[in-house]
Subunit: 249 residues, 2 copies
């Protein structure tokens, strides 16, 4: 196993960081790595906002559901899908780009571009001995997040990335078995097979919790997921995205 | 610079591969690395289809706009946003998860989850001396792609990833300068600054083409982007996604 694969397989989310800020050099390296990711037709449809201002970090931590590690970390990045730059390009070049920018296709392109860049940033940070945690919680209230960070239309903060020196390292939860995620030549649509796979994975997850909690927890993955999905969360998103002139047609 | 950052910064898209298939071990390693990526609330909302069947590869290459490297590579992965598994979970656990699964929020979660996993796969492959190319072209005609790969509702093939031993290595195009992508504490909304940045980057890109083509090409980035965005492509996407019971509310 080489160092790259070792770093990738060793990933775990870190939620407790030392009180030690990243250096400017570390921030630049992480952003350069983000930018080295592939980008659809060279569109580069993202921006990254680094938040240092303690007042803004505190506010974002509250907005993300009182997650302390949004405030207390080495650096807090906000990864944004960004088609504002391309709105300006349309004006500058006097071309009608509105229909494209408002399309579901370009919304998807911007989301994918941003996530590819973010994952490079995450791996680069981890390779430097830093820990990371993605913060989807900033999507709880994007209108206010946009206000705090002065973000224009056609720019959607997708998630935060808290980065810093790990103060507490947690375990890794077992992922879905290889055969459940990887299909060859076609998607496995046999429902009996699919349901059996869920049972198998439930056992794996139940064993994991049982061992970690000395038998107290025995959750199944499908229970966890059903309970999570039964609650309707962030249902304002469609309206919000369309108000931001994206995913309209 | 460590090996991980070296690998990340050395990325370039490879479009010519040797006629040498990946081993099963390489495929497993790449998929394991994909699965090690962070996933929103442990939802694991993606599947990966590996295509070996030469007839299917040829068909996918045609559908992606006659891209030869979709057919000729060491292995072809199709990364799919996947909420079908969670549809089954709702049935199994007898919970109403429909509204969640149909939400724009969960559509975004699935796209982000899939892209994070894919970028891990890409970096892992590159660390093994393999080259990669993302194939957005499979989105040209997703209905047919779904047919070829027997893909159910709530599963959207987002992009392909061609992987293999590089037969021809190309250069790296310069990305947007650091200051254009990275904002501190708030988004830089001064339009004069934004437009000046586009001019600066246009010069960088023009110089790059001029040097690579002995002065023949002098394209500006904003020209390229405006010309691309003026064309409305894949405008069927909204209807297609909603027909697949995603991004409906």
């Amino acid at each position: 196993m080489n160092d790259v694969i070792g770093t990738i397989l060793n990933h775990r989310s870190i939620r407790h960081f030392e009180d030690k800020p990243l250096t400017e050099e570390q921030i630049r390296t992480i952003v350069s790595c983000a930018q080295a990711a592939a980008t659809s037709s060279f569109i580069q449809a993202y921006s990254i906002i680094g938040v240092k201002d303690p007042v803004k970090k505190k506010k974002l931590a509250e907005l993300a559901g009182n997650q302390e590690y949004v405030e207390k970390n080495g650096h807090f990045f906000v990864f944004c899908a960004d088609l504002y730059r391309h709105t300006l390009i349309g004006e500058k070049e006097d071309k009608n780009v509105e229909a494209s920018l408002e399309s579901t296709e370009k919304f998807m392109v911007a989301l994918i571009d941003t996530a590819l860049a973010a994952q490079n940033a995450a791996i680069a940070a981890e390779s430097l001995g830093l820990g990371i945690c993605y913060i989807g919680g900033i999507r709880n209230n994007l209108e206010e997040v946009k206000g705090v960070l002065h973000i224009p239309d056609r720019v959607i903060p997708l998630f935060g990335l808290a980065v810093g020196y790990p103060a507490k390292v947690t375990g890794q939860k077992p992922r879905l078995p290889f055969e459940h995620v990887y299909h060859e030549n076609g998607y496995e649509q046999n429902k009996e097979v699919n349901l059996h796979q869920l049972d198998v994975y439930n056992e794996i997850i139940a064993n994991y919790y049982q061992q970690r909690t000395n038998g107290v927890r025995k959750d199944h993955w499908t229970e966890q997921m059903a309970a999570m999905l039964e609650k309707q969360t962030r249902m304002y998103m469609k309206e919000f995205i369309q108000k931001n002139k994206l995913d309209l047609r």
